[in-house]
């Protein structure tokens, strides 16, 4: 022990980004070592594609003009985001809280938001990678699939969905006592998003009043952006093209950003950093 208490020269300051990467790296190692999470993240979404396709084909029978292949890819992306970001992170936040890791991290230099986002880095990264694979795989394998109408909008939809679901995962973990009960606490949002945000049941195949109610769900606008970004339309009409999709997407974009902001605010407000006693 020869180290003086104060270093002679001020050491280089860390940036929020470098702290996010340090947390993300450790979380990536933890995710790799969690077999259940890896299995769920890698296998489940792709296993769903098959059943999703038959569901969409059945919907196409009574919804003329429904783009089965386009819906298949964007819905699969939505489900990947739900499973890999939302459920996986709800479990991760709960586990870190119960191990008192979050409490310990708060004593360090990382700000609260950095701790939450840093924990989410590998989940978001993995989900985006899988979405890329789904998109590329879809274009290669599905003859009926056209190229995305507006890739920028698609990307915005992916990022907004990831942020929204991260904040919702933080909120869900606030009411999740143990890792084992995360399956129950995430169920309401999983069901609402899968059946109400156009993933398992395309909004365009619903009666208008039901579809409009579903658009009020927090997860619908962000996931709609994937649909509009790829298919170029919110419904079954022809693609509005790159320029036209911005108009079509203006309201969902605004709503998605508002929901993400509200969820982030609520997560900061109600997140629990320590286990309940």
């Amino acid at each position: 022990m020869t180290a003086p208490a104060a270093p002679a020269a001020a050491p280089a300051a860390l940036t929020p980004l470098s702290r996010l990467l340090a947390l993300g790296r450790a979380e990536t190692t933890l995710l790799r070592r969690n077999r259940t999470a890896v299995f769920l993240a890698l296998v489940l979404p792709f296993a769903l594609v098959g059943s999703l396709r038959s569901i969409l084909r059945a919907a196409a029978d009574h919804t003329p003009g429904l783009d089965v292949d386009g819906n298949l890819v964007t819905s699969a992306m939505g489900i990947v985001l739900l499973v890999v970001v939302y459920t996986n992170l709800t479990t991760a936040y709960t586990a870190r809280r119960n191990e008192l890791v979050l409490k310990r991290l708060r004593t360090g230099e990382a700000a609260d938001g950095e701790v939450l986002l840093g924990t989410a880095v590998p989940s978001i990264g993995l989900a985006l990678l899988q979405c890329l694979l789904l998109g590329v795989g879809g274009l290669v394998l599905l003859d009926g699939l056209r190229a995305p109408a507006n890739p920028l909008l698609l990307l915005a939809g992916l990022l907004l969905s990831a942020l929204l679901l991260t904040a919702l995962a933080a909120l869900s973990s606030a009411v999740t006592r143990t890792v084992e009960t995360a399956g129950i606490t995430t169920l309401p949002l999983m069901l609402a998003a899968q059946f109400g945000s156009g993933l398992m049941v395309p909004l365009e195949s619903m009666p208008d009043t039901v579809a409009n109610l579903c658009r009020l769900l927090p997860t619908t606008p962000a996931l709609q952006l994937l649909h509009i970004g790829w298919l170029g339309t919110d419904g079954t009409g022809p693609s509005a093209g790159f320029a036209g999709t911005w108009g079509e997407a203006a309201l969902p974009l605004l709503l998605a950003a508002a929901w993400a902001g509200a969820a982030a605010w609520a997560a900061r407000r109600w997140f629990r950093w320590e286990p309940r006693r």
């Binding site: 020869t2 104060a6 280089a12 300051a13 450790a26 191990e99 310990r104 991290l105 360090g108």
Partner: protein, 340 residues
């Protein structure tokens, strides 16, 4: 009336209150008007029974919790409002904190180094606590004592100027405790200010330059170990023989300044002057050929000071407690704002 010869305290608190829950009878006030000054380079121990408010106080000093009233400065900074400037200069070890069980020690260290300004090499930090041979082991496989040492190693990663340790040696075996004490002493010699809580009295006696004993949210006694002990009387205990025969009319001599408690034949004397009282007593016993059975004489110990404090009720007036001594935890009149 600022004393300029005195360096600005490394840690200072004035009128600190911390309340849990609603105001009124529904809530609980864990800290009730605490004043504290820790000089730079000093090792300061906060003692108290469980629930005295040690951890609640420490969390406010560390900036992990807001005080419900009062002011705190650490290195002249507000631990909450100036958190970003202060955190790189302090190290914190919680009473209970965790690291992910599935990471190895080296991976844990690498993550923390990425979160710590001016971090020393991870292996160097592990080596300080004798954990280098365990660097490739996962945290979940560590013993409780090893986890505490890992926690301390991470607190030391950034070579902090001020180190907050909440019960650093709880859960350690005697050998590890001795090693941690040695390390803490070395840190102090290198100029680190250390604030630690403990309920091991020998830990405070062994390490602390100054200490404060907390009880029900207040500091009731403070100062150097010698000052705290000086405020408490020494004790002499013995048993008188049966009052029959030669000892039928036996009376203790007058012992000025002492208080006497009798329980049957058992006598307990409390005296500020152990040597004088003991000389009187033994002289008297020799003159009267009295055998003082189970004779036990001892100076005040920190334990007695501690127990005396713990025995007092929750609403005891701190000013009525033992004399705090001249340099002990002064409550200077000026606010922290003007002192800083």
């Amino acid at each position: 009336m600022t004393d300029t010869s005195r360096p600005r305290p490394a840690v200072a608190a004035r009128g600190l209150h911390r309340r849990y829950g609603p105001s009124g009878s529904g809530g609980f006030e864990a800290v009730r008007g605490l004043d504290l000054d820790v000089a730079p380079g000093e090792l300061f121990a906060l003692l108290g029974t469980n629930g005295a408010g040690k951890t609640s106080t420490l969390e406010v000093l560390e900036g992990l919790a807001a005080p419900s009233a009062g002011e705190v400065r650490v290195l002249g900074l507000d631990p909450r409002r100036e958190r970003a400037a202060l955190r790189p200069r302090i190290g914190i070890m919680l009473q209970e904190g965790g690291f992910p069980g599935e990471l190895t020690l080296a991976e844990t260290g690498r993550c923390w180094a990425g979160l710590t300004t001016g971090a020393r090499a991870v292996d160097e930090a592990l080596d300080l606590l004798g954990l280098l041979p365990r660097r490739a082991v996962r945290v979940k496989q560590l013993s409780g004592g090893e986890r505490r040492r890992l926690d301390l190693a991470m607190a030391l990663l950034g070579r902090p100027e001020v180190l907050f340790l909440d019960e650093p040696s709880t859960g350690l075996d005697p050998e590890a405790r001795a090693a941690v004490w040695r390390l803490i002493r070395e840190l102090r010699s290198a100029g680190t200010t250390v604030v630690l809580t403990t309920h091991y009295l020998e830990e405070a006696e062994e390490l602390a330059d100054r200490l404060a004993i907390m009880h029900h949210g207040r500091v009731v006694t403070g100062g150097t170990v010698a000052e705290v002990l000086a405020a408490h009387p020494a004790r002499i205990a013995f048993e008188l023989p049966e009052r029959t025969g030669a000892h039928a009319a036996l009376e203790l001599p007058p012992l000025p300044g002492t208080s006497t408690a009798l329980d049957g034949r058992r006598v307990l004397l409390r005296t500020p002057d152990l040597q004088g009282t003991l000389t009187e007593l033994l002289g008297w016993a020799a003159r009267h050929r009295v055998e003082l059975a189970r004779l036990d004489a001892r100076s005040a110990s920190l334990e007695e000071a501690f127990l005396a404090v713990a025995a007092s009720g929750p609403d005891a007036d701190p000013s009525a407690g033992p004399n705090v001594g001249p340099s002990a935890v002064p409550a200077r009149p000026e606010t922290l704002g003007s002192a800083a």
